[in-house]
């Protein structure tokens, strides 16, 4: 075996052959890939659920399913998309694969724990789906499991909640692992301010995970207790208070949206400077804003509860705090734009997707302010406006950042290049479809169409038809993107070590990386986004070409 042989081909330890070499691996790269296939599969399933719902809503009245199926479908769609796609996607796949490489380490700090997280993830996923077929049918509570409905419905809520509990544990262990890795395994000479921004964002996310997830765990445990023993902690008839459930739930679930979006922002912060050939503007600002979002984002949970009956003071305070989160977020967006300003921009599919991200995410963020102000929220609460808003941030944001990360790191992970033209077409279709899909929902919401309803008044028909039409375009675009990536295995166009001119450490190792990541001691740059060498090389090559002519 030569030192540069990729981690795919390294011989398995004795007794571990074929599939076991993967299932029992402790190599962070292999675990990252195992997450990739698992998460990808779930995403496709949940996508189908979403599309089915949209088809049902395309015309008023019953179209292809009854109300019960609809309720189960949107719970399934929500649970999968949240717990099995947006939360784990970027940290588990790309974080596992690239965090150790970006800091010049061999592996994560606790490799066995890492494998355990993957198994917990699979177990949770399996239970979530199993609860669909066991018992009285899939829970119809939505992914928020609000009491009292989640306590009284006869569907199999306990199992789904257990699944969510296990998934939470998995994400917590990953966070713990990443924090320890960052603290203890940075290569010699890499100070905190020399860490790539993607790693920084994962570090901030991990803290949110560790601080917020246990609150969800205990909330879910209490739902189980209440279902089994009916103590009455949330039941007004017995002295309990359902609002407390909501407080506990959102104390996790609002920070969870930062668990979803921070790594996505890390990906974008990585892509923008590389394709602008320019040091990222305000490196420290981006780092601080990550931490700022992590802190401020933990204080705003109750903006989901303006209509639940809180005191006016609480409504005011939470509304104010919610606006504060916009500041660090805006710092990031301005940094990206300032980075591109006067840069030598080279258009590629990852950059294209990153730009789509910025656009869609800004729409999502700005409409978030509409929902953050108590006055307007009272009107829009639980309408389709909310559905459009969160799809813009979670799907337009994290979803597209995930696509961008896939296109950015694909050559590194597999050592092969995909077709650019198809990637552009797929991305464009997806973006256009996205806008057609969700913009009508903003309007529908303002007109008063509620969310989570299976049927609606005839006046909402046109908007829903348009949205459904956009949904199809969107799905076609996504399928094209995935098809293009998968086809690269067929065509096998070998990718160079550093196809984009990246400067972080993962581009200094062969594609795909060898088993021990680094063949020689990694060389740490004084500043991670220093493109002077890349630019000089490109100029040399050009000069060389011209002299040959």
């Amino acid at each position: 075996m030569t030192a540069t042989e990729s981690f795919y081909h390294t011989p398995s330890p004795p007794g571990l052959k074929g599939i076991w070499a993967w299932l029992l691996t402790q190599d962070h790269k292999r675990i990252g890939l195992m997450y990739l296939w698992a998460v990808g599969l779930w995403f496709c399933i949940a996508l189908c659920c979403g599309l089915l719902m949209r088809v049902e809503l395309m015309s008023a009245g019953r179209t292809i399913m009854g109300p019960e199926v609809y309720n189960s479908l949107f719970t399934l769609h929500g649970v999968i998309m949240i717990f099995l796609f947006v939360i784990p996607a970027v940290p588990s796949i790309f974080g596992n694969f690239f965090l150790p490489i970006q800091i010049g380490a061999d592996d994560v700090f606790f490799p066995k724990l890492n494998l355990l997280s993957w198994y917990l993830f699979m177990l949770g996923a399996f239970l979530a789906v199993a609860s669909l077929f066991l018992g009285e049918g899939f829970p119809d509570t939505g992914w928020t499991f609000y009491v009292p409905f989640s306590l009284t419905t006869d569907k199999n809520v306990s199992l789904t909640v257990t699944a969510a509990f296990i998934l939470g544990m998995s994400s917590m262990l990953t966070g713990l692992n990443f924090i320890t890795t960052v603290h203890r395994m940075r290569t010699k000479g890499m100070g905190w301010m020399q860490m790539p921004l993607f790693t920084w964002s994962l570090y901030a996310t991990s803290w949110v995970q560790i601080l917020a997830t246990p609150v969800l765990s205990i909330t879910l445990l209490m739902v189980i207790f209440e279902r089994v023993f009916a103590i009455g902690l949330f039941d007004p008839g017995k002295g309990g208070d359902p609002i407390l459930y909501q407080h506990l739930f959102w104390m996790y679930s609002h920070p969870a949206v930062y668990i979803m979006i921070l790594p996505a922002m890390g990906v974008i912060s990585e892509i923008i400077p590389v394709f602008s050939r320019k040091a990222v503007f305000g490196y420290k600002g981006i780092v601080l804003s990550s931490m700022g979002i992590a802190v401020a984002g933990s204080l705003v949970w109750a903006h989901h509860m303006y209509t639940s009956g809180m005191s006016d003071v609480a409504v005011f305070v939470f509304s104010l705090l919610t606006f504060l989160v916009a500041i660090p977020t805006a710092v990031k967006v301005f940094s990206w734009i300032a980075t591109m300003y006067k840069g030598a921009i080279e258009m590629t599919p990852p950059l294209y997707l990153a730009l789509i991200f910025i656009y869609l995410f800004c729409v999502g963020g700005l409409t978030g302010l509409v929902l953050g102000s108590a006055g307007t929220d009272i009107h829009l609460h639980d309408t389709h406006f909310v559905v459009a808003h969160f799809h813009f941030t979670m799907f337009g944001g994290t979803g597209f950042a995930f696509f961008a990360a896939l296109h950015y790191w694909w050559p590194k992970m597999f050592g092969i290049m995909y077709n650019f033209k198809k990637a552009y077409i797929g991305a464009t279709l997806a973006a256009v479809g996205f806008i057609f899909h969700y913009v009508p929902m903003f309007i529908l919401g303002m007109q008063g169409m509620p969310r989570r309803y299976y049927d609606y008044l005839p006046k909402f028909e046109r908007g829903n038809f348009l949205a459904g039409f956009g949904g199809f375009l969107l799905v076609i675009g996504i399928i094209l993107m995935f098809y293009n990536l998968l086809m690269s295995f067929r065509k096998r166009q070998v990718a160079p070590q550093d196809p984009w001119g990246g400067t972080t450490l993962e581009w200094s190792v062969p594609s795909p990386p060898p088993l021990h990541n680094f063949v020689e001691e990694p060389k740490v740059k004084a500043y991670p986004y220093d493109f002077s060498e890349v630019i000089a090389q490109a100029q040399n090559a050009q000069a060389h070409q011209e002299s040959e002519k």
Partner: protein, 198 residues
């Protein structure tokens, strides 16, 4: 490739994990605080019905076991295997005493028809129902942690006997000990909340 054990790293990982456990209970304490605010008198009344003596005994038992676990770590670091084993056995024994005590306490309560959904609580005032609901949930969850801690100590004990955990490789014992301290620490919060409510 040389494989050094990074003790600090392992400790960081364990501390982070303990942190999550504290926040797990933190959620329950938040509930306690909210309901205490709502029913202060009834909580006090509920507290009077709990047996302070049993609670105190259990507190003492846990404190002692915490001490012996710490002693076992020191013993192991000094290479005294026999002492380590003795201290560990004693700590596990303390865990057993705690659970037995808890068992009797709970069963007396059951006897007096005080348990989730019992007639007395259902027909009594809401505050008492919530108080005892929280009592069962929190002490139950804590009891579960005691059991997990004991399992951890037993696993460590076996490994100490097999010399897989020894003078130069004591991280497992140290972490099991930390976990046990955590269980103790949480109890120190639980105890006044339920037994000493004024």
């Amino acid at each position: 490739m040389e494989k050094k054990i990074d003790k600090t790293g392992i400790r960081i990982g364990m501390w982070l994990f303990l942190y999550t456990e504290i926040i797990l209970f933190g959620g329950l304490f938040v509930l306690y605080a909210a309901y205490f605010h709502k029913f202060p008198e009834l909580f006090a009344q509920g507290g009077e019905e709990l047996n302070t003596l049993v609670g105190t005994v259990n507190t003492v038992v846990l404190l002692i076991s915490s001490f012996t676990v710490a002693a076992s770590i020191t013993a192991l670091q000094r290479g005294k295997k026999g002492q380590t084993i003795a201290f560990l056995l004693f700590s596990i024994f303390c865990g057993v005493v705690f659970l037995i005590n808890k068992y009797f306490e709970w069963s007396t309560k059951f006897h007096h028809d005080i348990f989730p959904n019992s007639e007395t609580l259902q027909n009594g005032p809401d505050g008492l129902n919530i108080f005892f609901g929280l009592y069962y949930v929190i002490t139950g969850l804590h009891g579960l942690h005691v059991i997990i801690g004991m399992i951890l100590l037993m696993v460590t004990l076996t490994l100490v006997m097999k010399e897989r955990v020894h003078k130069d490789r004591f991280q497992l014992l140290e972490n099991a000990g930390l976990y046990w301290h955590l269980v103790d620490l949480i109890w120190i919060f639980v105890f006044p909340l339920f037994y000493l409510v004024i």
